[in-house]
């Protein structure tokens, strides 16, 4: 077995891992090893051929592969060592790691620091409780996306989509453009799960109906899918008897949410948040295990790839300081999600003299909202928003001078207040 020692090990070469590797290299860290299980760099971006990526970072709307290409071009100029087709099979709390590929066999790796950048995976039918047969023709939106955009396959003639997440809506348009009939998008919640602009440009543009408060009850077909039964749900998401409707189709596409992929984190006994489903992290994106950092969708499912790549850079800076044993506060304080706030990143704050970036969601739609960051009843920061929605992640940056006012011994709380009426739109 080959043994490798390195300064920084990065697991996953999607936008978080690529950005982290480039930033760590730029900061002068040497012996960076980037492992990727796929046969190319870029992660899921390579199958996201639609546009809309990179408005914040590059001030233009790139497609997924083009966004990835910018980072790939850059990393090729760097000193980062890349291993493709390499699967990490074990990660331990002492940061030792085992990986496997067909060239090296099993690799034993001993890094100074690790950045987890494994991304997320899609929820499947097993997690949304659909009754009935288990025939072919039922797949997640991401699988369909890979079939159509990478493999060049057309896996059906008539599709039903369950869930109105962004990928589901984007695939509705993609199928329509490739000649697959899209009967409709069914959403169990009373409002769409993805961005309004995708309702507009992916569904309305192509006259694809969106059925809210409706779900798929069961699937039918012995070998291949022959149809699904949809059913209306009440305000408690309970199915309403008598509203069932059969739809003949040969493709059921699931766009029912994403979950951070943390098998390796769990193996290394890294504490996982029950809210974000990712590791509990501080403002350097270090997990509760010293020297192991987490970036991108493995931490929390981010809305924008620009947030993902930015988090990669934050983790790289944290890892660089850790490797150089630079001074930072040994103690951390809690960053708490207060009223109306959920999915807050980071959950811990360690004073490091740098600006503090916060990512979170509102629990409900609130008009004329204001975000307050409080410590012991004192307001450290306040910002107003015309409207906040659960499906749109909020990013705030507290400049270094504001951060200096934080007492390093008391928890801080982020809350959203309603200054106007609450709308259920």
């Amino acid at each position: 077995m080959k043994t490798i020692k390195c300064n920084l090990l990065i697991i996953g070469a999607g936008p978080a891992g690529l950005a982290a590797a480039i930033e760590a290299d730029r900061l002068g860290i040497r012996d960076i090893l980037l492992l990727e299980r796929n046969d190319e760099l870029g992660g899921i971006l390579q199958q996201c051929i639609h546009d809309g990526f990179g408005l914040q970072r590059f001030k233009e709307q790139l497609s997924g592969p083009a966004y990835a290409q910018r980072f790939i071009d850059e990393i090729k100029q760097s000193n980062v060592e890349i291993k493709l087709r390499t699967m990490v099979i074990e990660l331990h709390q002492d940061k030792s790691c085992y990986a496997i590929n067909s060239e090296d066999g099993v690799l034993e790796i001993h890094p100074q620091a690790v950045i987890l950048a494994m991304g997320c995976r899609e929820r499947t039918r097993n997690q949304v409780f659909i009754l009935g047969d288990r025939p072919g023709g039922i797949m997640t939106a991401g699988t369909l996306q890979r079939y159509m955009n990478i493999e060049g396959l057309i896996p059906g003639r008539k599709a039903v989509i369950l869930g109105s997440g962004d990928i589901g809506m984007i695939m509705a348009r993609r199928m329509k453009l490739e000649g697959i009939e899209v009967e409709g998008v069914y959403e169990i919640m009373p409002r769409p799960g993805g961005l309004q602009r995708n309702v507009f440009q992916c569904l309305q543009d192509f006259d694809i109906p969106l059925h809210l408060s409706t779900s798929v009850k069961s699937t039918h077909g012995k070998y291949h899918l022959e149809g699904v039964t949809v059913v209306a749900v009440d305000e408690n998401l309970k199915q309403i008897a008598g509203t069932e409707r059969f739809i003949a189709c040969d493709l059921l596409v699931l766009s029912v949410g994403l979950i951070p992929e943390n098998e390796l984190s769990e193996m290394a006994q890294i504490p996982i948040s029950t809210v974000t489903k990712g590791p509990v992290v501080d403002n350097n994106l270090m997990t509760q295990v010293d020297g192991i950092f987490a970036a991108g969708n493995v931490t929390s499912v981010f809305d924008l790839v620009d947030y993902v790549s930015a988090s990669g850079e934050t983790a790289a800076r944290g890892a660089a300081n850790y490797i150089r044993e630079e001074k930072q506060s040994a103690t951390s304080i809690d960053v708490l999600a207060g009223k109306n706030v959920t999915s807050l990143i980071p959950m811990k704050y360690r004073k490091n003299g740098q600006a503090l970036e916060l990512y979170f969601r509102s629990k409900s739609i609130i008009r004329a909202a204001s975000v307050h960051i409080m410590q012991q009843g004192q307001e450290i920061y306040k910002r107003k928003f015309q409207i906040v929605r659960p499906e749109e992640m909020i990013k705030l940056q507290l400049k270094a001078d504001l951060v200096a006012a934080i007492n390093p011994r008391q928890a801080i709380t982020v809350e959203i207040r309603e200054n106007g009426r609450v709308s259920d739109e």
């Binding site: 051929i49 592969p65 290409q69 071009d73 309004q196 507009f200 809305d303």
Partner: protein
């Protein structure tokens, strides 16, 4: 008075735009936007809607596909015809992200460019 509603697709915020066309005024009025892009989008959407086109094209002598994007938005009614055209072309490698593959596709004044580098 002519009133129309749109969702802005210029950025993920997705502003809810309201456009009002009144007689005697050249440019329709737009409300609900948070920036200038919203005004521009609503006026164009009202006059002649355009969309960015993305798809994949074949690569000569390979089973891999090349993702492509239109360099700018294409008139909506020409999207399907452009897509059809792109289904029939084969691209030679090597190709670099940003390379123009089809210039002025179907007289739209918009080029189709590679979104990815393939060596």
């Amino acid at each position: 008075m002519n009133k129309r509603e749109f969702t802005c697709i210029s950025c993920p915020l997705g502003c809810h735009l309201e456009l009002t066309e009144s007689q005697g005024s050249d440019l329709p009025e737009v409300t609900g936007n948070l920036c200038q892009r919203g005004i521009d989008f609503a006026r164009e959407e009202f006059r002649a809607p355009r969309r960015v086109l993305t798809t994949v094209v074949s690569i000569s002598g390979s089973n891999s596909l090349l993702p492509v994007i239109s360099a700018g938005p294409i008139p909506k009614e020409k999207l399907l015809a452009c897509l059809d055209y792109l289904k029939r072309i084969k691209v030679k490698t090597p190709v670099t992200a940003g390379d123009v593959l089809v210039e002025n596709i179907l007289e739209t004044q918009v080029s189709i460019v590679a979104a990815k580098t393939v060596e």
